[in-house]
Subunit: 335 residues, 2 copies
C-alpha cells in the first residue's frame, strides 16, 4: 500500500471527513437532469429542470450550475467538495476536444465548446459525450452488460440511436458518429435520400414518432378503443391485450428492427443488444423482435435484453465518466 | 542499442550471411498459392498448385510443405532458414487457437487444427486467419489503407465478405465472424431466412454468382453480343461499352452494394472501403457505387478505392502475419 498523508483525499476511496462528489448531467431536448454521486458512484441526490425555450448553450450551463449548487446544498457541501462533472449530450459529440458538433433541432447546437463552458463556470474538470454512448457506458460499467466485451445499446425513444462497445471500450468512429442507425436501409424502409437532421429511414418506422405515424395510418374508431393520438407504449400495451391494429404496428416495428439488429450483429458479430429508451424498454417489442430474429437461423443468435439502468442509463454513464475524469485529473497531483 | 553477438540473427534486419525467410499461404477453394519473402516482406519466389479434389486438410498441409521446399530450393536455402509460415483460410477461423471453425462446401472443413498441423509438418511457428481478414491486414500494412485507422476491405469474387480494421487493428468479433456481410438485409434483397452455408441475401445480388444469375435472367441473343454464360467482368466491360442489358445488371449490383456500404459506414462511421476480388476490382462497379452513395447525402461520405495489392492482398497479408509470428516467436530466444 502507498503511504498517504491523512489530509490527502484518495479518489475512489470516499473519506467521511473530506467528502467528495461528482455530478452527472443528462441534457435532453426538453429536460435537464442532474445527479450527485459519491466517489463510489452511488447517487445521493437528484435535480431536474425544464429546458423548453432554453436553447442557448451558455444559459443551459448556468442552469446546470444552479442545479449543482442545489445538489451540493442538499448534502451540506460546498463547491470545493466537487471533483468533476460530466454531461450526456443529445447529439454528435467530440469528447477529446469537448465539443458538441451538432444536435437535433430541439437544441440546435453547432460546434459548442461545452466542456470549456462547464469548466469556466464551475472551475472543476469536466467531460462530455453523446447520451447514447454514455447510456452504453453505464450498462457496460454497472448495468446488464458488465461482463460483455462487445454489445450494442439501442436507445429507442422519440428517435433511434445506438452506442457501440467493442472490447469493453466505447467505439465512436473517426468522426464520432458510429451507431447513427436511424438512417439504416433495410427491407421495407423508404429508399429515398434523406437530408441531415431529418428522421432516418429506419427511424421513420422504429422510432417513437414513426410508431405513432404507423398507428395513425391504420387507426379507425371502430377497430380500437385507443385514441388516434396514442403513444407507442399505449399501442404496445394494446397489442399485448390482443388488439389486431396495435399488433400490426408492433409486428411491423419488430420486423423492421429485427432486420437492423441482424445486420449490426452480422457486421460486428455482436452477441448482445441492450434495449433502452421509453419505447425500447417495452417488453412486447423486445419479445416480438427476438422471436423474428430466431427465425433467421443466424450462426450467432444475438440476445436482446432490457437495460437494467432504465431511464437512468445515460445519467449513470455520465456519473461514470465524471468519476473517470476526477481520477485522471486529480490523482497525479496527489502522488 | 542492445548488443547482439555477431552470430545471432536479428529478425527484421535481414542478414545476407544468414538469410531468413517466411512463407505466406493462400488456401483457395480450387487453388493453393504460396509466396516466399525475406524479412522485409519482399516476395522472392512464388508457387501454386490445384486443390481440386484435395479436400482433406492433412493432404493440403503436405502439399503446402512440398511448396515450401520448392520455394526454399529456388533461393538455395534449407528449412532452417524458414522462420515462420502463415495461411489465409477461406472460412471462419479462430487465430488464437489456430483453428479453422468452418469453410464453405469447396473444402468442407469443420474444426480443423490447421496451425498445429502446419507446425507439426514444418517444425516452425505457424499462424492462420481468415483470407479476407488477411487481405485487409495486407492493405493496412502495405497497401492503400496504410494511413487509415478505420476501413473495411470488401472482397467481391464468387461470394462476398468484409475484413474490418478499427484503430489500425483487425476486428474479428467475439466468435470470429465479424464482416460476414453476404447475409446483410437491404432494400430489394430476399427477406427469406437462409440456411448456413447457402449464399446470403446480399451475396445473391452482389456476389459473382449473383451477378451471373442477374445476367442470365435478362439475357437474350438479340439484345447482346455476350453469351448467356458471361462472367461478371465481361458483363461490366459490356456495360462500359454501352450495352443496356449489362448496364441494368451493373446498376442493380451497384445499387444493392451501395445500400450495404451505406449501412456499414453508418454503423462504424467508416470513411474508407477498399474493393478487392475479381469482381470488386472492376472500375465500373466502384464508380457506379460511389455515384449512388453520393446521392444519399450522408454526413460522412465514404471513399471507395480499389485495392492496390489486387489479387495478392491475402497472400501479402499472410506474409505480414508470418513476419509478426516470426518476430514474436523467435526474438525472446535471442535476447
Amino acid at each position: 500500500m502507498q503511504q498517504q498523508s491523512p489530509t490527502t483525499p484518495v479518489i475512489a476511496e470516499p473519506n467521511p471527513t473530506h467528502p467528495a462528489y461528482v455530478v452527472g448531467v443528462d441534457i435532453g431536448g426538453t429536460n435537464l437532469r442532474l445527479a450527485l454521486a459519491d466517489l463510489s458512484g452511488t447517487i445521493l441526490a437528484r435535480w431536474s429542470a425544464s429546458t423548453v425555450d432554453i436553447r442557448n448553450a451558455a444559459k443551459v450551463v448556468i442552469l446546470i450550475a444552479q442545479g449543482v449548487d442545489a445538489l451540493l446544498a442538499e448534502v451540506h457541501a460546498g463547491r470545493t467538495a466537487l471533483r468533476a462533472i460530466a454531461a450526456a449530450v443529445p447529439g454528435i459529440t467530440d469528447p477529446t476536444r469537448g465539443l458538441v458538433i451538432a444536435t437535433s433541432y430541439l437544441l440546435g447546437w453547432l460546434d459548442v465548446p461545452l466542456r470549456a463552458l462547464l469548466e469556466a463556470e464551475l472551475r472543476i474538470p469536466a467531460a462530455i459525450d453523446n447520451d447514447v454512448n454514455l447510456a452504453a457506458l453505464g450498462e457496460s460499467r454497472t448495468g446488464i452488460a458488465r461482463t460483455a466485451a462487445d454489445f450494442v445499446f439501442l436507445a429507442i425513444g422519440t428517435g433511434l440511436g445506438a452506442g457501440i462497445v467493442l472490447n469493453h471500450q466505447l467505439f465512436r468512429g473517426h468522426a464520432f458518429t458510429a451507431g447513427e442507425i436511424g438512417y439504416l436501409l433495410v427491407p421495407g424502409v423508404s429508399e429515398a435520400p434523406i437530408d441531415r437532421g431529418q428522421p432516418g429511414a429506419l427511424e421513420q418506422i422504429v422510432g417513437g414518432e414513426g410508431i405513432k405515424t404507423q398507428w395513425r395510418r391504420l387507426w379507425n374508431s371502430t377497430a380500437s378503443t385507443l385514441p388516434f393520438s396514442a403513444t407507442p407504449t399505449e399501442i404496445f400495451d394494446h397489442a399485448l391485450e390482443g388488439n389486431p391494429l396495435a399488433q400490426q404496428v408492433l409486428t411491423s416495428t419488430a420486423r423492421t428492427l429485427s432486420f437492423a439488429i441482424y445486420n449490426i450483429a452480422l457486421i460486428l458479430n455482436c452477441p448482445l443488444f441492450v434495449f433502452g429508451g421509453t419505447v425500447g424498454l417495452h417488453p412486447a417489442l423486445i419479445e416480438a423482435t427476438q422471436k423474428l430474429l430466431a427465425e433467421r437461423r443466424a450462426r450467432v443468435q444475438p440476445r436482446l435484453l432490457p437495460s437494467t439502468l432504465g431511464p437512468d442509463a445515460q445519467l449513470i454513464g455520465a456519473i461514470r465518466l465524471a468519476l473517470d475524469t476526477a481520477a485522471t485529473h486529480t490523482l497525479p497531483g496527489n502522488r
